[in-house]
Amino acid sequence: MTIPPKTSRRDFMKVAAAATGGLFLGFNWAGAATEPMTLLSSGAPSPADINFNSYLSIAPDGVITIFSPNPELGQNIKTSFPMIVAEELDADWSKVKVIQAALDTKRFERQLTGGSGAIPHSWERLRKAGATARQMLMEAAAKKWNTSASSLTTSDSMVIHPDGKKLSYGELATEAATLTVPSDVKLKDRKNFKLIGKAINNVDNKDIITGKPIFGLDFYREGMLYAMIQRPSGFGMKIKSVDAAAAKAMPGIVDVIPYKNNVAILGKSTWQVMKARKVLKVEYEAESQIESTEDHDKLFKELLDKGEATVRRKDGDVDAAFKGAAKVVKSEYQCPFLPHAPLEPMNFFAHVKEEGVELIGPCQLPDNARNDVAKALGIAPEKITLELTRLGGGFGRRLKSDFVVEAAEVSSLAKAPVKLIWSREDDMTGGSYRPAVRYRFEAALDKDNNLIGYKLRGVGINAGNCTREDNFPSGAVDNLLIESVEHKSPITTGAWRAPITNFLAYAEQSFIDEVAMAANMDPVQFRLNLLDRAKQKPVGAIKYDIDRMKAVIQLAAEKSNWGKNKSLSQGFSVYFSHRSYVAQVAEIEMKKGVPELKKIIAAADCGIVVNLSGAYQQVRGGVVDGLGHAMYSRLTFKDGAADQKNFNSYRLIRMKEVPEIDVHFVDNGIDPTGLGEPALPPTGGAVANAFFKATGKRLRNQPFILQDEMKGVKLEEKM
């Protein structure tokens, strides 16, 4: 881990100016109640601020500015990152100002949102950034007081002398910033944390609740054109001909530009562009195979039986184990395609000029977006600046930069600043979906009900490796075979919150429940026994931490009074994803023969919790996400086109459908291991297992609401 080099104030201002491309102009019409969006260019610290490192500067009035480099999409990073810096700095949190940094690969490492990795990767770096500045402030105070820095303490942005006199960070900043940056600083003992572990409110709350323009779709630049793109009608289709005459003649339309396999419509307002799009005449033709959901259902069965599989993991002799088995359990699980459906549709601002390209908007991988634009336009990445707005959700969709490249291409063609907007229909039909997958599981039990063989074969559509071969129960079974088959389709797929595990966990944890039932074992005890076995006699590589997994299982069992309330049907599930562990218990109560989902209890181990408020909601939100999609959502295809095009036919979970959710954290003091995704995967399995306990019926396909097992069953709408 290296500390970013100390830049001089002057260098820093150069960096800031280069990153923003000059003055930002906002709305200029009379009567507009809204201030322009606060970007780095307008929200940067005043020149009086003293810069300490990439992350923080301190003004003489004591205001501390902390830059948050990673894209904020609701994971609360814009609050949690600065908390970590402020903790080690011993800053007065009420005087901390947070600014979203523009893309700057020289100043920041891993400036992205994905893989639940921001805090685990930056934890030490952020702490050192705060601790280093604190040390320098203490040394500056020591000089003034003619004493040694080690005799001083700090609190609330003050350096304190043993005799009680104080100097504020603001008073010390100018002097402190001239001192040599210490190469080795002592970090706080966890027991002295004042901010970390507390519930700290989102730093953008005020802007959010007053409707300030902070999202990409809110960005406005005087003179910009609004643009939408008509794309091919389905996957495997291409545009055959375009008649743009009627669209071009519509009011407010500036141009209609066919390019590549797209038609760009540019105009003076969003609605005018949307209207013109309706009269644009486009004919399409097939360019490759055209697929429907019906074809996929047949394909899954064929490929499960005889598809060419890639062996992902093989332990022992599976054939022999199954031959000698006293009992064999076998079942299949299937999950549909899903769009990400963040509530803010894809959009980006681009201004391609001779001297360079300006990009402003919401994306999860800004560095990739810049490089992709550079490639598409044939220019050097150094000529491109990218500023981040807040993201109205991402869920993995904004890891791709297709919409950023589109904005730049259209700006380049139109020779104008352009804000590219996707409609909801574009978002639903535009691809990059969670892949559809079907799994076949088989388990062999010996006469004493020991699990002696385990097979998993997954078939995915553009899913790559749809297994996680080294995850539980691998390592706990002597004879094991995990393989995957991939069908290549024109339907595009991408990472979707907790990629692969968002459906694999449901399938696997449901199947483990089936095996526990076949073995006449309590499902919690069954899992604990397997983990004990993996600990005592590990088979092959084990890439999960057995003790951490056991601890979340035990915590969830304890908090749910597992098995003790006979009027409740409880279902259990546990999963390791990314770097963290989450166990969940779903509780269904039968009311007059109708199962009612009452509660989900979640126990999470993400290491040290940075922000209790954010973390608690991150787990609850993950559970709601996992429940909603397992229960209600699917995307189907007819002749290469998505059937569900908006929220009238594509169902997302709503308030009435959400049960009570309790959240508990394991307190083990290890460095943070991430929480953006890990709470989602276990939910589907916990609910399906509770449903089985309540009704004796297995939910082997998602969405649950459409399964035969749910016929005549009403999951009551209850909070």
Binding site: F27, N201, T210, L343, G393, S423, V624, F647
Partner: protein, 153 residues
């Protein structure tokens, strides 16, 4: 195109737009009032919720020509300093994750409480069920509506 004079947040705004232009896009593109959000365009997600004559409406599906002299209130006009009881409750409960849906959620909640200051949990759920939160902050939304209800004496 026709000229429309609208009473929004107590001020008069004017726009030359087509009669079928949804209020949402007039607010956003013509008046620079960007608090109401575009989520679906068909009145299904509630991100665009504003008040029309005191009632919560989906501005994405409301043509500008249908408004007439009725008063429009957007999130920007809900309070002067962001201190409407609903806004304060949202802040106190730390409701938002990504935040995109929250202006619409707040407008739905404020309309509910203006008509029914002490709603039951069922009434809250019915009033709020048209607003989707993709991040899943529903528990805190419900808690914040209850808190706001307590703040309104």
């Amino acid at each position: 195109m026709a000229n429309y004079k609208l009473n929004i947040n107590g001020k008069t705004y004017e726009a030359d737009v087509d009669a079928d232009t949804p209020l949402l896009w007039v607010l956003r593109d013509n008046f620079g009032l960007l608090g109401a959000k575009y989520g679906c365009g068909i009145g299904q997600c509630g991100a665009c919720t504003v008040h029309l004559g005191g009632t919560a409406v989906r501005s994405c599906s409301l043509p500008v020509s249908a408004i007439g002299t009725k008063k429009v209130v957007t999130i920007e006009g809900l309070s002067i300093n962001g201190d409407h009881p609903v806004q304060l409750a949202w802040e106190e409960k730390d409701v938002a994750q990504c935040g995109y849906c929250q202006a619409g959620q707040i407008m739905s909640a404020a309309a509910l409480l203006s008509k029914n200051p002490k709603p039951s949990e069922d009434q809250i759920q019915s009033a709020m069920n048209g607003n989707i939160c993709r991040c899943g902050t529903y528990h805190r939304i419900r808690e914040a509506v209850l808190l706001a209800s307590n703040k309104i004496k």
